[in-house]
Structures are given as C-alpha cells and as structure tokens.
C-alpha cells in the first residue's frame, strides 16, 4: 500500500531544472532519506510525491495508483514540514483532528484517534493548548501526531528537525525511529544533514543537482560510494581526494603514490583518476600494526589539530608551503591530507610525521566522470600476503 515509485520524473522551472529524470522505487514500510546539499532538488522531489508540485514530466505512483495529477488531499499521504506549520489559530486538538474533520469522521472516532495519536507522541494533557504556548519539541510532536492520526500510507518529512536545537534534534531522531518501528509505514525523509540520514534510514538516496546519485543502505553509501559526490557528501569530515594518474605501478600523484596492479582493477594505464581516502583510514607509522594492507610511508608535516574528544583530526601538509583548506567538500587537495587519530595519540602541531594509508579502504574514481572504479585495493606489492579483511567491511 505504501510503496512509492517515481518514473522519469523531472521538474523544470523557467530556466532551472530542479529535478532531472528521477527514478525512485521505495518499498512499503521503508525509511528512506533523501539527502543532498541545499537546492539539490530533494524538497521538490518530496513536494511532487505530496502533490504540492506537479512534475513537468514523468509519473508518480503511490501504492498501485498513478497519482501524478491528483491533488494532495487524494493521495493518502501525510507530511511534516520544516517550519512545523501548525495552524496558529487552532488548539492542539483541532490541529490534530483537522484532516479527520475535513473527511467527516464522526465525533467519537475523531476523539479516539486523536487520543491515540497524542498517546504515541506523548502529548497527553496538552490537547487544549495553543501552538504558541508550546516549546519547539512539543510543536514538532503535534505536527507528527497530525500526520499519523489519519493512518496514511506514506509519511513525508521535510527536514522536520532542522529548526530544533541540537540536543532536541538527537532526541527526536530516536523518537522518529521508535515511531517508525511502531507504525511500520513508509517514511520519506528529506534532510541535508547526513548524520540524520545515516542514523535513521533503511536506505539513503543521495541527490545532487536534481539527479539521483546513489540509493543504497547507509553503510553501503559510506563504504562504497558510487561517485565522487557521494564520497564527499557522506561522512564528516569529508573524504580526502587526491588527483593523479594510473601508471604501471599503480596510482601516482603529486605527493602520494599508491601501488597496485592496474590490470587487477581493470583500469587502463594513463587514465586520470581521483583517489579517495577517509580520515580514519590514514594511520601514523607507529600504528602500522593496525593496518592489514598498508601503503608505503608518506612524509608529511602536521598543521592544525582539532581535538574532538573521542578522536583528533590532524591536518597534514604534504608540502612545505601547502595551505590549509578547512572543510571543503569533495575538492581534491593534492598537497593536504586529513587524518583522524585516537585521542591519546602523542602528536603536536608543526612536526614532521610519517603516515600510511589503509589500501583496503582506498577508493578510486574516474576524475572526468566521477564514477567509482574500485573500493579498496586488495592486491599489490604484498600480493602474497592474504588480506584478512574484506574491503567493504565495517570499521
């Protein structure tokens, strides 16, 4: 009942294409996150599912019905909005029962349902209040109650937690997961916060410039990003990227070379590739014993340290005069590398260090198209030594 399908859906505004040939297949009961940077078309996609925006091309299906041109009220969806959007002139009870009253349910049924919904989101005893007498978290719960009270087939949530403070956001995240478990309805959730997407969803749909980049479970997106964009977007801080070229001996760039046999990976020699490595897969030479499939040593110099408590982010300069670029998304920085180390590591700023990469966690992308070529390099100079871990395994 609650499966949602988008077939070749596009939305053009005057001169902009907000959504470009989107194909999505969402199963009943699934929790899907649409993530992407601001203006990538994720909200437009959701509005087209809700019916608030009519697609320029393509078809939208909910359940077995085509709903492309149906108004929102006939689609059997409920939506929670970023700005919460409670009706300020109605009390909580009237807000929650709004949709039921429009559908002429009888009084007792409405009361029973409202009480149950209020129960689920823990709003008992607040039904008489007006929205402006409530805190942000309570209002958000009213909005969720308003959505669940109609038993919709599909829930749409458009950055529902964006306007809450950090602590409440983490709390509501767990609440939403609990709710999903309880209701077992399809939830489509739009967010630009990849942490929300990673923690809550069954699958993540990464969207950029109106195009679907990848739709996979969170850890697959994390460990096997389909392209440069996904690799740079998922994970915080972002993955390191190095531009280089494939030679007979493997990857060669300005400062870092990684050996592999191009034939094994099916890459032709001479191709421009971008190497991606996550900060936690860069190790100090002292920690070499932790790495099963190390690269050779790389000389670097520590620049800035960012102690986070549970780990330390170390910005490494690969050249003397390298400039520190802090937090740039998916930009290849050939003279710089970000490393994360354990909090008790003895490390100082502006010291020479040697580091190495975990070759089983190295990602190779085609520089031109951005498409992933391989995730992890298994074979190489130490081909005789059997590799203990799968490339895709978790940390």
């Amino acid at each position: 009942m609650g499966d949602v399908k988008l077939e070749h859906v596009s939305k053009h505004y005057d001169d902009v294409t907000a959504v470009d040939d989107m194909n999505l297949d969402i199963n009943d009961g699934e929790f899907i996150c649409l993530v992407g940077p601001s203006g990538c078309g994720k909200s437009t996609t959701m509005e087209m599912i809700a019916g608030l925006t009519i697609p320029s091309e393509g078809k939208v299906f909910i359940g077995d019905r085509e709903v492309t041109n149906l108004p929102p009220k006939d689609r059997g969806v409920a939506m929670v909005f970023q700005n919460i959007a409670l009706f300020p002139h109605m009390d909580v009870y009237d807000n929650i029962s709004f949709g039921l009253r429009l559908r002429n349910y009888d009084k007792e049924e409405i009361e029973r349902r409202v009480n149950r919904a209020a129960d689920v989101v823990q709003l008992e005893g607040m039904l008489e209040r007006m929205p402006d007498e409530m805190s942000g978290g309570q209002r958000q719960r009213v909005a969720i109650a308003r959505a669940i009270v109609r038993n919709p087939g599909v829930f749409l949530m458009d950055e529902p937690l964006a306007n809450l403070d950090a602590k409440l956001r983490v709390h509501m995240r767990t609440e939403l997961q609990r709710l999903h478990k309880e209701l077992d309805t399809t939830i489509i959730y739009v967010t630009h916060d990849q942490a929300e997407a990673m923690t809550m969803s069954d699958r993540i749909a990464v969207i950029d410039s109106g195009q679907l980049q990848q739709i996979d479970p969170p850890l697959v997106c994390y460990n096997e990003p389909a392209n440069l964009f996904v690799a740079g977007f998922i994970g915080s801080p972002s993955m390191n990227f190095l531009d280089g070229e494939v030679t007979e001996d493997g990857f060669v760039s300005q400062n870092i070379d990684v050996e592999f046999d191009p034939a094994n990976l099916g890459v032709e020699v001479g191709r421009d590739v971008t190497l991606g490595i996550r900060p936690e897969d860069v190790y100090l030479i002292e920690d070499e014993h932790l790495v099963t499939n190390p690269s050779h040593e790389i000389d670097a110099m520590t620049d800035v340290l960012e102690p986070m408590g549970d780990e330390i982010f170390v910005y490494l300069k690969l050249e003397e005069d390298a400039e520190t670029h802090l937090d740039e998304d998916a930009v290849a920085t050939n003279d710089q590398l970000l490393m994360s180390v354990a909090p008790d590591t003895d490390i100082e700023e502006d010291k020479d260090v040697s580091v190495l990469l975990d070759r089983s966690k190295v990602h190779l992308f085609d520089t031109e198209t951005g498409k992933a070529i391989s995730h992890g390099i298994e074979s190489g100079i130490q081909a005789s030594e059997p590799t203990g871990t799968e490339a895709e395994s978790d940390d």
Partner: protein, 319 residues
C-alpha cells in the same frame, strides 16, 4: 503682540533686560524643544477637533432649535426641542432608509470580501506573468471618478442597452429602484482597496501552512477559507469596515439609481432629502436625521478603530 516682540528684540540685545511672556516662552522652548513639540501637538489637535467636530455640534444646535427660530444662529441653540428626534421618524420612515443603507452596505461588503479574498490570494500567493501590471490596473480603476461610469451604467441598469448575438438580442434588465444598480458599482469601485489590503495580508501567511492544509485534505479554496482568511482576520476586518463605511457614506450612485422612495431601496441620503417639502424646509429634522444617520458609523469606527489602524499598518510593517 508688539511689546512682546520688542521683548524678544531687547532680550537678544541684552540677556539681563526684562522680557515679555512670549520672549520667556521662546527662550524656554529653545532650551527644551519638547515643549515646542508638545504645544505644536496641542495646536494641531485642537485645530482638527474643531474642524471635524464643530460641524457635528452645529448639526446638534440646529436639530434642537425649533425650525421657525432657525435664522441668525449663534453658537447655542435657540430653544430646546428634543422631540425632533421622534418627529423625524414620523414625518419620513427614516428607519427604512437606514435599513436600506445597512442592506446595501452589508451586501456590498460580503461581495467585496469574497471577491477580494480570491483576488488577494492570487495576487498575494501565486506567481504568474503580468501580475504587477494587473495589480496596477486594478489600483488605477480605484482612481477613476465614479461620474465617468454613471451614464453607461445608468443606461445599462435602466434596461436601455441591448446586445445582439446573431439572431438573439438580449436587452439588459430594468434594475432601476432595486439594490442591484447600487451594489454592483459599489462593489466594483471599492474592490481595489480591499484587494490591496488582503493581498498584503495573504502574502504574509507562510506557504507551509497552506501546504499543510492541502496535504491534510483541503483544496486550495478550502485552505484559503479555513486557514489563510482566519489568520488574516485583522486585515479582513479592516477591509470589511472600510468598505461598509464607504458604501454607507456614498452619495453619487445612491442618489441617482433610485427614485428616492424607501420602498425603492433608497438609502439615507434620499431619506434626508425627503424632508424637503413643497412649502417648507425643516432644517431641524434634516439635522436630526443626519445625526441619527451618522451614529451607526461613528459607533462602528469607535469599536473597530484599533483594528483598522493596526490592520492598515500591520500590512506594511509585519516582518
């Protein structure tokens, strides 16, 4: 006056010299400009009160003076004749004229609010090409003198216009002496202001609320009347009150589109003129009728003034 100004002149020459009262006041005002502003305020207020309220007082004076004594009037009534407020209803069914005025005012207000709500929704919340041009056109109509429309409208509403479509000729119905020839022009003339007020109000309601209502199960129209209009209550009230007052005060069409009889939907204008007899002109009755006619609007303004002021300014200032 002359010795006061000489006081200033002497004072400016030598501060120790004694000054006239005006000189002292000027000196204080220079040291403390608030005094000057406050006195300016009082002067302006008194001026406005006198110019606006004096005619009303004058009406009362004339109403209370018996008609035969009305000549060479002073500031006080010559005599005291409160029965005039009863006689005026006996001579002319003034309550019927007032009823007509109310019906015309309320009908027009309802029509204007309905249409202006739809137009305000479109202008305030939708984007479409030519929007500002259309809005400008609507506002331009409100600047036209009503007299410009009188002759064509009179011809139309008295059934003197016929339209031929092929074989069929449709002549306009004779609506003279019905409310229609007043309500239609009133609605058209007073719509632009209401559209303008409601556009600013409806434009400020967040899109999310309308979207929420639509997802919850209303149509666009349903969202307008269930969510947007209630949330814009001050704006709707302002537009409504202003329209009602404008219709109630209207003279031109009210006078020309009926024969002046209460049974022909003539409003209070005609009622007041009805006292004019062939052999006498009862000024006291006319004055009394004017006072009674003004009262409902005066009461409405006093009750609604806070709303009107906040409604007019909120549109411009909110957020």
């Amino acid at each position: 006056m002359s010795n006061e100004s000489s006081g200033i002149g002497l004072g400016s020459d030598d501060a120790e010299m004694k000054r006239g009262p005006l000189g002292r006041w000027v000196n204080k005002a220079i040291k403390n400009p608030d005094r000057a502003y406050r006195s300016m305020f009082y002067v302006a207020t008194v001026f406005f009160l006198v110019t606006t309220l004096f005619p009303f007082y004058w009406l009362l004076v004339i109403a209370l003076t018996p008609n035969r004594l009305i000549s060479n009037m002073g500031l006080l009534p010559k005599g005291f004749n409160p029965e005039v407020f009863i006689t005026m209803f006996e001579r002319v069914p003034f309550h019927l004229y007032m009823f007509n005025s109310f019906v015309l005012g309320i009908t027009t207000t309802v029509i204007v609010l309905l249409l202006a709500s739809l137009a305000g929704y479109v202008f305030g919340r939708l984007r479409f090409p030519g929007k500002s041009f259309l809005m400008l056109g609507i506002l331009a109509i409100s600047y036209f003198p009503p007299a410009a429309f009188l002759i064509p409208l009179f011809e139309l509403f008295t059934g003197n216009t016929a339209i031929s479509i092929g074989f069929i000729t449709v002549s306009s119905p004779d609506l003279f002496n019905t409310p229609a020839p007043m309500v239609f022009p009133f609605s058209a003339l007073f719509l632009p202001l209401s559209i303008f007020i409601l556009t600013t109000f409806y434009g400020q309601i967040p899109d999310g609320l309308e979207d929420a209502a639509r997802v919850e199960g209303t149509t666009r129209l349903g969202a307008l009347f269930r969510v947007i209009v209630p949330l814009s209550a001050p704006g709707v009230a302002t537009a409504g009150v202003l329209t009602f007052i404008a219709v109630y005060n209207e003279f031109f069409f009210s006078f020309l589109m009926n024969n002046g009889e209460a049974s022909s939907w003539a409003p209070i204008v005609a009622g007041i003129l009805k006292y004019q007899g062939q052999f006498d002109t009862p000024y006291n009755l006319m004055a009394a009728a004017s006072i009674v006619g003004v009262l409902p609007v005066a009461i409405l303004v006093i009750i609604a003034q806070e709303r009107i002021v906040s409604g007019l300014t909120a549109g411009a200032l909110k957020e």
